[in-house]
Subunit: 240 residues, 2 copies
Amino acid sequence: MRYQLFYWPGIQGRGEFVRLALEDAGAAYDDVARQDGGMSRMMAMMKGSAGSDADKRPPFAPPFLKSGKLVIAQAANILFYLGPRLKLAPADDNGRLWLNALQLTVTDFVKEVHDTHHPIATGLYYEDQKPQAQEYVGHFLKDRVPKYLGYFEDVLTRSGGAYLLGRKFSYGDLSMFQLVDGLRYAFPKAMKRIERKTPGLVALHDRIAARPTIAAYLGSERRLPFNEDGIFRCYPELDR
Amino acid sequence: MRYQLFYWPGIQGRGEFVRLALEDAGAAYDDVARQDGGMSRMMAMMKGSAGSDADKRPPFAPPFLKSGKLVIAQAANILFYLGPRLKLAPADDNGRLWLNALQLTVTDFVKEVHDTHHPIATGLYYEDQKPQAQEYVGHFLKDRVPKYLGYFEDVLTRSGGAYLLGRKFSYGDLSMFQLVDGLRYAFPKAMKRIERKTPGLVALHDRIAARPTIAAYLGSERRLPFNEDGIFRCYPELDR
């Protein structure tokens, strides 16, 4: 089974949470929109004009994953599907639901991260909403980042193990890596301060970066660099 | 099996998407935080100090559902769990994943609705971010509502049936009812205009309101009225 991942070609974005899972598991996949003709394939699927059964169920937005004839949209939904197949989720239903609740909390947080540079409208440029972004980010760094990271730190502590689910490594841990990595890129000064209260998450981030699969991925061209078109953007004026 | 739903007692909010499913199915449930002592039970579970196994897996926020010993957080996750049990989801895995993708798109939209009155910070009052809310809502009503509702209208059309999934009624349809109902409450003028382009969704809303289970629920005290503490708020200055 060769998976086909559809996501915007120039950014890590929400697709990165899926890429990390595929990479850690060593799964065979195409990053379709980065291949020749891939963007038009992706757009056709979103428009429901790909000429297949999937046209009846067009995704709202990338990322989406094609697995055989099945098309699955929404990063958390893709990970829910892939989890057991990539051995990155518990086998039991209750464990999968708990992991999904955590991943949906990641999803909520990622949207709040996105809004640090787009508090007023996705359709405007950051440059058109800079004063509002300044206001937003003050509350975000003071309240929201400590709240979300503090929650995940607490989950980690209560798990009694090295991972969010205790001894079982999962795609949720890969998402913790990405959150810490992205926040460090976007808000290096603020994160130095905030990280002091989440030593468990920082250690988890470092352990994941050192996994041979992930280290190889991070050193490859498949890992797109963070940039100012993605979710995590480095605008020094927003970092306090 | 008597379910226990935990959600803020004074608002419909994100809990309403779960309430509608429980009500339509005629499931036995307690709306815990609206009962005597319920709020402190809810807070204890969120703090992981309820004195049970669930303390190892505290929810980030309401709504969450207790089903036996299992505690499930995040509205879309709760609905994913309840769907087959309440016969409000397809039986096959692929259908459930498609429905979940739709519900997660509802989740994304609901967050954008919330931000119409809180574009800068959840921790501030609406009154402290009114000019920014005005700016936000202009783009929201012009671009975002038509985009989301247009997408769901398209899904409905492509399904070839009366419901999002075709002939199969699901919790996704109940969420469509709630979106249309809430948007009409919050933005009555703008919705008159926007609704013209989504006749299928409007008809779906009306069919659902007429279901005996839902009609009985809407006429009961169990259905909290919309108000200015919830997700959908009626501030005339934001409705254009």
